[in-house]
Assembly symmetry: D2
Homo-oligomer: 359 residues x 4
C-alpha cells in the first residue's frame, strides 16, 4: 500500500515546475526521481527546489539512465509532447501528457494509435492527456449531478476560457506556435462539452467568428484575441464557446450545462477566496489572476488520481482519444473563424466538402 | 372604486418631500390636496413641485381650512409628531405618522391612548406609525415564509441598520434630538424583531455596548456611532442588533431570522441593482448610499397600503402599540449602553430594579 | 406642469392589461381615457378594473370618437400593430407600440416610413417601439457606465432571453404567429446589442443553430425551443445570443458587455428579491417566474418616460428605425437556424447572395 | 533542505485521524513515524491507513520508545491535552496541541507557564495551540488587508461558529465535558477577535445570553444550543459572537471586521464549491456540512506551517498565551450566559467583583 510510483518529468517551465512541485510534495503515493529540460535555468531551478531529484538535459538521456522509472509526466513545449509520449510508451512507461498532445490533430492521432498498440504489450499501461479541469472539485460535482439525472438530458453547453489581459504581448509571440486561441484555450471547454454531452457526440456543424480587439498583431498569425463559436451535434445538442485574452479582472472560466429539467453552472461568479471588501466604491471581490490560481487544486488532484490509476491498475477517468476529438473540433472552430465559413459534417461526423453547387 | 382619499401632509423636509411625492404621484387612490410646513424654503419647494397642492405655514391652519381632508401624513420634526397626530385624530382623520411617535416612550403612549379613545368615536379611523421596512417586498416575503412554518419556530433574530459615514458631522448635531442611535436607527430592527418573534414577546433582559469610533463628539450627547445590543425574551427567543453610522460602502441594513428548522436572510449582500462591474481590481457591486435608495419602493408601498386600508376600512397591517414597544426597547438599549449595566425584567415584562442585595 | 396626456390603449390581453394598469395608475402625468379590444372578456376586465375609462370594441371606433386623444398605446395582437400605428400616426397622435412593429421586416419598415412622413406634418409627434429592457434601471446603469468609458470600447456582447418552461404547450400554438424564437425572444437582446455596440453597427455575418429539446412540435413551424446565434459586425464587434423556453428555475435574462478595459454584467444571478432561504439542501434564492416579474418596473418607467417625451416635446430615448434593424437581424438568425447556412453581408450591410462559385 | 521533521501523534479519533492523514501525506517536510491511542479501534484504523507508522496504546510509551521523535501533535481527548503537552515539552519536543489546551483556564495557564520555562532550556522549541482558522486562506487574506490599513482602525468584530443540527444528540452527551458552547465553538471566534483587534486588547465587559431551542437536555449541563454574547474592550473596540448547533443548511462560520474606513467579511455566503443548481424551486448552492468540509485546507496549511517553523526555527504565527486568553473569555461568556449577569473588568483587565453597594 505504501509503495510509491517512480516518476520522471520532462520540462520544468511554468507548467512543468508546477507539476514537479505537485508530484514531489503533494502526491503522497508518488516519488519524483528524475527531471529533464534542455533549458539550463530550468535545471538550476530544479537543483534548488528539487534537491533529491536527478536532472538531465535531454529526455532520451533521462529515459535511458533512469531504469527504475515507472511513469513520465510530459510538460515540455507542445511540439515535443507527441514524440516524448511515444518514446515513453514504447518503454512501457505510464504517461501523463500536458494538453494538447499536439496542435496537429494527425500527430495527436498517432499518439493515440501508438497507445492502442502499446497497451497490447503492456496491458496495465496508463496514458492520459491532462485535461485538468476534469479534476476540479466543482466540475466533478457538476458532472456527478448531471449523471444522476438532476437536470434531465443535457442539451445546451456553454463554456468560456477567458484570460486576464497580459500587456506584455506574450500571446502575440506565442501565437505562431499555439495553434490559435481555440486550440490553446477553448480546447478545455471542448473537452468539457464532450464530457457532459457524451464522448460519442457526433459533430453536425461548426461556425465561429473572432476579433483582435487589443492585439491587432494576432491577425498576421491567423489568430484573434476574442472568439465565439458553436458546435452543433447530431441528436439535438449544442455547445457554444467564448474565449478571450483581454479580461480586465482576471481569469474567468465559467460553464453552464442546460438540461431539459434543470441547469448547473460552474464558476459564474469568479472569486479568489471567501473575502469581500467593502469600501467607498462598493463591495469588491478579488478573482483568480490566472489559470493556476483557479485550477491549482485540480492539478494536484489530477496528479494524485493519475498515480492511483497507475499503482492500482484502475481505468483512467478520461480516454486518450478524447484529446484528439477536442483538438479536431478546436481546429475546425479556428478554421471557421479565419475562413468565415460554416463547416458541416454528415451523420458519421465526416466533413462535407462544399461543391460548386453549394453545400 | 375610483374614489380618492384626500390627504394633507405635515412637513416637507427630506422625508416629508419624499412622502409628498409618493402620495402625489405614486399612490393612485390618493389625492394630495394640502401640505404644511413652517419652513419657507419647503413651501417654495411645494410651489414648484406640487403646484396643485394648497400650502400652509402651520399645521393647525391646514386642519382648519381643509374641511375635505380625510387623512394626514405626519413627516414633520419628531418633536411635533405626537401633538399633530393627536390633533388630527381628534378631528376624526386617518393618520400616517413617521416613526417615532416620539423619542419619549411616555409621550408615544399618549398617542396610542388617544387613538384607543378616538376609535370609539370614529370606528373606521386608521392610525399607523410608519415602520417602512415592513412594507419592503423582501421583508414581506420573509415574513410570509416564516408564518408558513418554513423555518420552524423563529428563535434568534439578528438585524442591523448601518448608515454610510457622513463626513458632514450631521449626526453629531442631530444627536441632541435623535434620542440616540438605538432610538433613531435600531428602532426599525426592533420593530422587525417584534414582528418576526411575535408582537407579544415579553422582554427578559437587555444589554448593550457602544463606541464612538469616528465621531468622538457624540459622547457629550450620551450617544455613540457604533452600538451592539441584545434583547432576551421570555420563552427562549433572542434578538440582537448592530447599528453604525460609519459604513464605508453605503447603507447596509440586513436581517437574519433563525428558526429551529431553517433560516431566512434579507439583504445579506447589499446591491444597488443587478449590475456587476469587472475591472482590474476585481468584481464590484455598487450598493445603496442611503435609506431611501434601499427602501423607496417600501415607502411607496406603505403609502398605497395605508390608503387602501383607509378607503376600504381594512385592518392596518401593524398595530400602533408596537411603535411604543419598539421605542421602549430602544430606550432601554440606549440606557444600558450608556450605564454599562444590564437591565432585567420579570415575566410580566416589568423592569426589575436592583436592590442593595443584588437583583 | 400638471397637464396630463390623454391616452387610449389598443388591446387588453396579458401585456395590454399591464400597460393599461401602468398608464392608469402608475403614470402620474398620463390620463387613460379610452381602451379598445375586440375580445368581450377583455372589455369586461376593463369595466371592472378601469371604471373611468371608456371602452370600444374596435380601434377605428375609439379613434373616431375620442377626439381629445393625444396618444395611443398599441398592445393588440402583433398582426395588428403596424396598421393601428399607421392609423394613429395619420391622426397626429403619439404612439407607443409594443414590440415588434411586425414580425415582417418590410411591414415594420412601412411604419418607420410613415413616421418619417408624418413627422413633417406633426413635428412634435412621438412614435416609439417598446423595447422595455432599455428602461430597466440596471440596463440604464450599465449603459451609462459603458458610455462613460468605464469598460473601454465595447467589443463582445452576450445576451440571453430564457423563459421558464411552460408545460401548457402555449409556445407551440403561438409558434405559427410568433415569427420564431429569435423574433419573439431574442429581439430584445438584439436591440440591446445595437444599443451597446452602436445603432449604426453594420452586420458582417450571421449564423445560428437550434434544437427542439422539450417541444418537438415546434419543428413543424420551423421553430425551436433552444437557439444559439451570433452576429458579427464590421469593425470588430460580435454579439452572441442564447434563447430558450425550457428553463427550470424561471426567467433568466442576462447580459454581458465586454470591453477592451472591463466588463459589465446585468443579472448574471437572477433573484426575485433580497431573501435567501437556508434549508437542509443548501441556500436557495427564488427567481422571477416570467418576464413581467423581472421587468415590471422597466415597463412602468417606459410609460412615464414616453409620456414625458410627449408632454415636454423631448426626443425619444430610442429611434423607431432600430425596431426594424432588430427584427431584420432576428429574421436572419431564424433563417440561418432553419437553413443551416451562414449568411454574409458586405460592408454596406447588404446581404451577399452565394453564387455558383461559392460565396 | 529535504530533511523531514519526525512526528508522533497522540489520539486518532475524528480530529486525530485527520491530523494523522495530513502529517502523513500532505505535509511534505514531515515524516509521521509514530502514533498512540488508548482506543483499540483507532489503532486498527492506523494499522490499515498508516502502515508505515509505529503505534502505541499509551502516550508515555510512545515518548519513551521513539527516541528520534522531534515533535508531537496532540489530538487526544481535551482532558489529556495539558498533561501530554507538558510531558512532551519536558522532553524538548515541539508540540502542536489541538484547541483548547484545557477547558480550564488555570490548567491552560500551566501549559503556557511550562513552555515559558522549557524554552529557556530548549531555545528552538515550538509550542502552538491549533487555532486552525488562522491558517485559512481567506482569514489570512483578510488579516493581511486589515494590517495594510485597508479598513482603517478595526473597531467592531462580529463572528459566528454555527454547526449543522445533529439529530443524534451527540452534543448533549458531549456537553458535560465540552466546557460549554462558548468554550467549544466560540473559542475560535474569540481567538480571531484577538487576532484582528489586537492580542493585547484588554477586556472591559462581557455579557451573554442563550437558549436551548432544539436540545432542552443541555440546560441540565448549564449549556445552550444557541448563544449570543459580546466582549467590550478598553479603547473602544467591541467583539460580538453568535454560536449555534442547529443550522439547517450546514456549517456557517462567518466573520465581519468593521473598521473606521471599510469592512471585510469572510464567508458571508457559505458555499461547498463553485456549482449552482437551477431547479424549479430556484437557484441553490450547497454548503459545507461540517467544520472539516470548511477548514480542511486550513488544517493542512497549519500542519505545513508548524513543520516549517520547527525545521527552520522561525517564530510561530500565533502565541501560546493567546490560547489562554481565548479560553478565559469563553468561560466568562459562558458564565454570563448562565448567571444572567454582565461581568465587568477594570483597565488592567481584572474582574470587578460587585459589592453590596453595586459595582
Amino acid at each position: 500500500m505504501s509503495r510509491k510510483l517512480k516518476i520522471g518529468i520532462a520540462g520544468l517551465g511554468r507548467m512543468g515546475a508546477r507539476h514537479a512541485n505537485h508530484f514531489n510534495a503533494l502526491t503522497p503515493r508518488a516519488e519524483l526521481i528524475a527531471a529533464c529540460s534542455p533549458a539550463p535555468h530550468e535545471l538550476e531551478w530544479a537543483a534548488t527546489n528539487l534537491p533529491d531529484v536527478r536532472t538531465y538535459s535531454s529526455f532520451d538521456e533521462m529515459l535511458e539512465n533512469e531504469t527504475a522509472l515507472e511513469a513520465v509526466v510530459i510538460a515540455s513545449i507542445t511540439a515535443a509532447h507527441a514524440e516524448q509520449a511515444i518514446k515513453a510508451m514504447q518503454k512501457g512507461l505510464h504517461v501523463l501528457c500536458e494538453k494538447p498532445l499536439s496542435i496537429d490533430a494527425e500527430i495527436s492521432q498517432t499518439v493515440v494509435d501508438t497507445y492502442a498498440k502499446s497497451i497490447k504489450q503492456y496491458p496495465s499501461q496508463k496514458v492520459m492527456c491532462g485535461f485538468s479541469r476534469r479534476f476540479d472539485a466543482s466540475y466533478q460535482d457538476a458532472y456527478a449531478k448531471t449523471r444522476s439525472g438532476l437536470i434531465g438530458r443535457p442539451t445546451i453547453f456553454r463554456s468560456q476560457t477567458c484570460d486576464k489581459r497580459d500587456p506584455s504581448g506574450f500571446f502575440i509571440n506565442f501565437a505562431a506556435s499555439s495553434g490559435g486561441i481555440f486550440v490553446d484555450c477553448s480546447v478545455h471547454d471542448i473537452d468539457l462539452a464532450l464530457w457532459f454531452l457524451g464522448e460519442d457526440s457526433v459533430i453536425k456543424s461548426i461556425s465561429a467568428v473572432g476579433v483582435s480587439a487589443v492585439s491587432p498583431g494576432l491577425d498576421a498569425h491567423n489568430d484573434r484575441d476574442n472568439a465565439v463559436g458553436f458546435v452543433e451535434f447530431w441528436g439535438g445538442k449544442i455547445a457554444y464557446f467564448y474565449t478571450c485574452r483581454m479580461m480586465a479582472a482576471g481569469q474567468e472560466d465559467s460553464t453552464e450545462i442546460i438540461g431539459t429539467e434543470g441547469k448547473l453552472t460552474v464558476n459564474m461568479q469568479p472569486q479568489m477566496n471567501l473575502v469581500s471588501i467593502y469600501e467607498s466604491t462598493g463591495i469588491r471581490k478579488e478573482i483568480p489572476q490566472n489559470y493556476y490560481d483557479r485550477f491549482r487544486e485540480a492539478l494536484v488532484n489530477e496528479a494524485n488520481e493519475f498515480v492511483a490509476c497507475c499503482l492500482d491498475d484502475k481505468p483512467l477517468p478520461l480516454k486518450l482519444s478524447g484529446a484528439v476529438s477536442a483538438v479536431r473540433i478546436a481546429h475546425a472552430l479556428q478554421e471557421s473563424m479565419i475562413s468565415g465559413k460554416k463547416i458541416d459534417f454528415d451523420e458519421a461526423g465526416t466533413r462535407i466538402v462544399p461543391t460548386l453547387n453549394g453545400h
